[in-house]
């Protein structure tokens, strides 16, 4: 098997994938350290007539006037925020990406909004890898009646109209908000991520099951059985590594789709609630700002570019990762 270190080396030789991986790393870093960066507040409203156009950073880099806002921040974020105030005082970046109609800095909103998208992506990845792969592999390997029932469950879930389910769940959560939050610590956001997890593993389960069904009949699995390997061992050593390629490809398709799903739900007002930001909310704001009199193009372009570049990078990394893991790929020696 290609070990982790080896795959890592292969990936480093793939210049495109490596560049994109570094880019994703930077995005993740920026997203995690959002309170530390000298960004304006993403929610502070400045009353003004029109959105302010982007200013090139070399024309105007910093402005004074940062004031902490009154959002609830987690403990770590609050510490980072204090540190930021010690470091930068009231200095903040000029609106490099412009501001929206309420005077909120777009760059700051994009950075803060990336947290939602990244969390959604993590929820989906986790559900796909843990639930989807296991479900599909077990169904494929067990075959027969077990397979049939497990796949019917997937069919049933997939045939649910998820938008209605989300509306329903969020309605319930809205109704029993205080109680749920108090007893189980469940709030709207948790439900939101759970729903995203619940939809995202289904395709993975199907693909993995199909692949496992084919592999189960393969000669090398037969050979492993003749050698006396147990079912779990065959699954872990012989079947799953051979499914890796499909898994990686499926993830690179799933993550963009959940990011879009997040954006879509937030766009509909079912996802993240203001004052929190997400790329979906930004896109929604951007489309609202489109009017024939004066086009504030940056309001659409900034979230779109953020999302587009991250999704593109994810795809390139996924592609590179699949090649890096495949011993038959030319150049992996």
């Amino acid at each position: 098997m290609i070990a982790g270190g080896q795959a890592w080396r292969h990936l480093r030789h793939d210049r495109a994938a490596w560049t994109c991986l570094v880019f994703l790393g930077l995005v993740l870093l920026a997203s995690l350290s959002a309170p530390l960066l000298p960004l304006p507040s993403p929610v502070a409203i400045a009353l003004q007539e029109e959105p302010e156009a982007p200013v090139a950073p070399w024309r105007e880099t910093f402005r004074h006037g940062f004031r902490p806002d009154d959002r609830d921040l987690s403990w770590i974020d609050a510490r980072l925020d204090e540190l930021r105030q010690d470091l930068f005082g009231d200095l903040q970046t000029a609106p490099w990406l412009g501001t929206d109609a309420k005077g909120r800095d777009l760059l700051s909103r994009v950075v803060w909004g990336s947290r939602t998208s990244i969390l959604a992506a993590i929820a989906a990845t986790f559900a796909s890898l843990v639930l989807g792969v296991t479900w599909g592999a077990v169904a494929g390997l067990a075959g027969g009646r077990v397979d049939n029932w497990m796949m019917r469950a997937v069919d049933a879930l997939q045939s649910l109209p998820f938008i209605f389910l989300v509306i329903f769940l969020i309605g319930i959560v809205g109704e029993y908000r205080a109680e749920l939050a108090e007893r189980f610590g469940i709030d709207r956001e948790v439900v939101f991520y759970l729903v995203i997890g619940a939809v995202s593993w289904l395709t993975m389960a199907r693909l993995v099951r199909g692949q496992v069904l084919a592999l189960r009949k393969s000669a090398f699995v037969e050979a492993a059985r003749v050698a006396g390997a147990s079912g779990p061992r065959i699954l872990l050593v012989h079947v799953l590594p051979n499914v890796m390629g499909v898994v990686v490809v499926c993830l690179t398709l799933t993550i963009p789709s959940v990011m879009l799903f997040e954006a879509f739900l937030s766009f509909l007002g079912l996802g993240i609630e203001p004052p929190k930001v997400s790329w979906g909310i930004l896109a929604a704001d951007g489309t609202e700002a489109i009017n024939p009199i004066r086009i504030a193009w940056w309001l659409v372009a900034a979230p779109a570019a953020a999302m587009g570049s991250v999704l593109f990078a994810l795809n390139v990394v996924g592609d590179g990762l699949r090649d890096a893991l495949d011993p038959r790929h030319p150049g992996n020696r």
Binding site: M1, A219, V226, A229, S230
Partner: protein, 268 residues
């Protein structure tokens, strides 16, 4: 007592519309150190027979029945899956037709050979590696240490088949079931692989059940042969007798259908 005793072994596959009798009341004995060839045309049931002995026919849809299926006195037909698992790889091993398909493409040669040891002896990766290198050397692969880290696709067909043989014989099984071990190889390599099997057999006294469609292979490698047709054994004979005086019509047909040379000059 023979090493392998088979009496009235039947395998049928029950479909929704029809039942297929792939193996139909087959009986034979296999002695220690002997090579018994099973010949027959495609669909005669010989590969199913090969899979039925280590009880690897998928059930359902398959149904395996036997009055007796005994390996050195142990009744294989009554064993649980767990007991069978400990037997597979240690007492019975198998070599398949196409080594490029029967080796897992994601594991190195060393990992695959060592796996048998890890499964049955609980060996550490390092011990398994050392044993795998020794086994590769024994099947005539040059620089075995260097080949351990090769992936299957980096070896030639002949080397791959040698590696599967090394894997099968690692724990010195008493019975080796070889299902068309040379059919996917080119002619010169075929001869080498058969020689290798013969020399390993001579050294260890392994019994070989050699499934093949090629009478050429039977002539060079087997002591006795079973001729199968539609799931039944139509003739059982020593190799010499089979080529000199085939008794059954189907054997004569098979002999008549071989390329030149084997029919008259064959035997040992």
């Amino acid at each position: 007592m023979a090493l392998l005793e088979v009496r009235d072994l039947s395998v049928r596959f029950e479909g929704r519309l029809a039942t297929v009798r792939a193996v139909d009341g087959v009986s034979f004995d296999l002695e220690e150190g002997e090579t018994l060839a099973v010949v027959g045309e495609s669909g005669s049931g010989k590969s199913t027979l090969a899979l039925a002995i280590p009880r690897l026919v998928p059930c359902p849809p398959g149904v395996v029945e036997a009055r007796t299926l005994r390996l050195s006195g142990q009744d294989l037909s009554r064993m649980s899956e767990r007991e069978l698992r400990t037997l597979r790889g240690t007492a019975i091993a198998m070599v398949f037709q196409d080594p490029s398909a029967s080796l897992c493409p994601w594991l190195t040669i060393g990992e695959q050979i060592g796996e048998v040891l890890e499964v049955h002896r609980g060996a550490s990766p390092r011990e398994a590696r050392r044993a795998a290198a020794a086994a590769l050397g024994e099947v005539g692969i040059a620089e075995p240490e260097a080949r351990l880290d090769a992936f299957p696709h980096e070896l030639s067909g002949g080397m791959r088949q040698r590696a599967t043989i090394a894997m099968a014989l690692l724990l010195s099984p008493r019975l080796l079931v070889a299902d068309e071990p040379t059919s996917a190889l080119d002619a010169t390599v075929q001869a080498q692989v058969l020689d290798l099997l013969a020399s390993l057999q001579a050294r260890r006294g392994t019994a070989i059940l050699l499934i093949t469609h090629s009478l050429g292979v039977v002539a060079t490698a087997a002591d006795r042969a079973l001729v199968m047709r539609s799931g039944r054994i139509v003739e059982e004979a020593g190799v010499r007798d089979l080529f000199r005086a085939p008794r059954h019509e189907h054997t004569r047909e098979l002999l008549a259908s071989t390329p030149l040379g084997i029919r008259r000059g064959g035997g040992r």
